[in-house]
């Protein structure tokens, strides 16, 4: 089993290769530091919503448009400040079989998505442009599908962390292409 670590201020990258029988399963984990400030803000947002709802219940005889507006603002602020802390995102590469994309949350929940190796046309380092910023992301171009599949669904790791994951994905998809062409 081989490990490799790389760190960034917000993200920590760990690579683990596990050998089983004749295959090597490649696991790339990107850990994210939990932001205490964001946790605090999310509690503040919930407190604001709770306070607004309590006020509404107390003032139920004197309800007006202002009360509903306050409730609406409370819901919006709670939603905006909401923080679902992610513990890590993993990419598990099983050669000749597929790629599993996992998102692990601090509350124990794990979201998984499996993509067959044959379905992956190419992993691509893509530059995403939004109205306010531009960042790198790692995506999979899938056969017969219009949409690209994001490898890291929630996190935006830096390019230093994306490159080794991209290279590992390229290597396993190239092996698959070679085995297909030999057949």
């Amino acid at each position: 089993m081989k490990n490799r670590r790389d760190s960034h201020d917000t993200y920590k990258y760990v690579r683990t290769d596990t050998s089983t029988l004749d295959k090597v399963i490649d696991v790339h984990d990107v850990y994210v530091k939990r932001s205490k400030l964001r946790v605090l803000f999310s509690y503040i947002g919930r407190l604001i919503l709770l306070a607004n709802m309590s006020l509404l219940l107390i003032e139920k005889d004197k309800l007006s448009i202002v009360s509903f507006w306050r409730l609406f603002l409370g819901v919006v602020s709670a939603k905006l400040l909401q923080y679902k802390p992610i513990k890590k995102e993993s990419v598990v590469i099983m050669p000749s079989f597929g790629v599993q994309l996992e998102t692990h949350y601090w509350n124990g929940r794990i979201d998984r998505k499996f993509i067959q190796m044959g379905k992956i046309l190419k992993p691509v380092l893509n530059e995403c442009v939004t109205p306010v910023t531009c960042y790198w992301s790692l995506v999979l171009v899938l056969r017969d599908e219009d949409q690209l599949a994001l490898v890291f669904q929630k996190l935006q790791p830096p390019i230093k962390i994306l490159v080794p994951v991209w290279k590992a994905l390229c290597k396993s998809t190239n092996l698959e292409d070679h085995s297909h062409s030999l057949k």
Binding site: V129, P131, V132, T133, C134, W136, P158
Partner: protein, 439 residues
């Protein structure tokens, strides 16, 4: 001497770029390609066109950012003043841009980019491609914005001496800071017909947008008169626009269906094939800073008849163009003169001369000189630059100063919340390709 040339990293900004087609768009494209060949790094920024948004690589790894700000009027991005600051800052840092080159006074994205680039201490250059008036409300407004943008600019480029005069008068900048670098034409694409056309019938070609500004109303007066005076002349009109209806009515009224052919909108890739089917190119614009269409026609070996407006007299020598006042009678006289000159015209010789007069490589070389001058100018702090805005007007000067101060504060706030170090720089595609080749 060649090796000691400085290499710059340039960001070309304009609302007008491909897939939209026009003079500004092709100017930016050709200039960028020639600058890339000269070893500079060039990145283009424009707004999104429909589904075309994000990063695209076009010929020779020329990178284009289509930022997802929708156009709101005539392909212009909605003017937001400060909202484009984050994305422009990100692009300037990740591409390590040293010079921001804005194109076209009518482009709001260009003005905002130049403002943000100056705030960030980047060098800026502006190229004006069109002539504008002074009297109507739209022009007054546009000129004030231009005055603001050019108040703090070190150098600007205009495409003709007439355009330089127009820009200097509109914006109040010093004439010695304005360079004149004309447009050019891709002579490899616009070549004459392999065999010369027969001269028993004279074909006059018109290719332009059929709008007021391009003199479509003049055509309505000129064509019937020419057809009456010269029975062996026929017209081919390519292009579309609101004035097309008037031309169709003229055809019907004078029964010129067999002598005036209307082609409708002509894609740029087919312009050459339309041009080489004629002997004379007719341009009836009421205003032109330069007019690339005349160059394209001359490169294809056509004799040009044009209105004497704007920068048109500067474009071609007297034996290649016949000029007329923008009045129907004078234009008919000019067409008569052109028909008499036709036997002396050799399209191949005209094409060779055009090749020696105009080339995009020459434009790139001259633009490089402007970039070198801009890089040599000193860096000034915000306090040293604010007085340049104050002289723009009693009230306008103060408003401009306030706008720049707010922009500066917003930039510092962005630097605090998102430091420049956290924005990853993009590796150069060319060096990456060489690295892969070596491996």
């Amino acid at each position: 001497m060649e090796e000691s040339r400085r290499k710059h990293r340039i960001l070309m900004v304009s609302d007008f770029f491909y897939p939209n087609f026009g003079g500004v768009e092709s100017h930016i494209y050709y200039l960028s390609q020639c600058l890339l060949k000269r070893g500079h790094k060039v990145v283009i920024m424009s707004h999104a066109y429909g589904n075309r948004t994000g990063v695209r690589y076009i010929t020779n790894n020329l990178k284009v950012y289509y930022i997802p700000w929708r156009p709101f009027l005539m392909q212009n991005t909605l003017p937001t003043f400060y909202l484009t600051l984050p994305i422009i800052r990100t692009i300037l840092i990740r591409e390590k841009i040293s010079i921001v080159h804005g194109h076209q006074a009518f482009s709001t994205l260009c003005h905002e980019s130049l403002m943000h680039a100056r705030t960030m201490g980047c060098k800026v250059v502006f190229t004006d491609h069109s002539l504008y008036g002074f009297a109507d409300p739209g022009s007054i407004h546009m000129n004030k914005i231009l005055q603001f943008t050019l108040a703090d600019i070190d150098h600007a480029i205009c495409v003709s001496h007439t355009s330089k005069e127009n820009t200097v008068l509109r914006s109040g900048i010093k004439p010695e800071t304005v360079f004149v670098v004309p447009n050019a034409v891709d002579t490899a694409m616009f070549t004459p017909a392999p065999t010369q056309l027969a001269r028993d019938e004279v074909v006059i070609v018109v290719i332009s947008r059929l709008v007021y500004r391009k003199g479509a109303d003049l055509l309505v007066e000129v064509i019937p008169e020419v057809c009456r005076l010269f029975p062996h002349v026929r017209f081919i009109i390519g292009g579309d626009g609101p004035k097309r209806v008037r031309l169709e009515e003229m055809r019907e009224k004078f029964s010129l269906q067999d002598r005036v052919e209307m082609l409708g909108a002509v894609p740029h890739s087919q312009v050459r094939s339309v041009l080489i089917s004629g002997h004379i190119f007719l341009n009836s614009s009421l205003t032109e800073a330069f007019c690339i269409a005349i160059l394209e026609a001359a490169s294809c070996g056509l004799l040009t008849v044009s209105t004497r407006v704007g920068g048109v007299p500067e474009v071609l020598p007297e034996d290649m163009i016949v000029l007329a006042e923008p009045a129907p009678q004078d234009m008919v006289r000019a067409i008569e003169q052109a028909i008499d000159m036709l036997p002396n015209i050799d399209p191949q010789i005209m094409h060779s001369r055009m090749k020696s007069y105009y080339s995009w490589h020459d434009v790139a070389k001259r633009t490089e000189i402007v970039y070198d001058c801009v890089m040599d100018s000193s860096n000034k702090s915000i306090l040293e630059r604010l007085p340049r805005y104050l002289i723009c007007g009693a009230w306008a000067g103060k408003i401009f100063c306030l706008v720049m101060i707010v922009n500066f504060i917003l930039w510092r706030l962005l630097e605090f919340f998102q430091p420049a170090e956290s924005i990853e720089e993009v590796p150069d595609m060319a060096s990456m390709c060489n690295h892969e080749d070596d491996n």
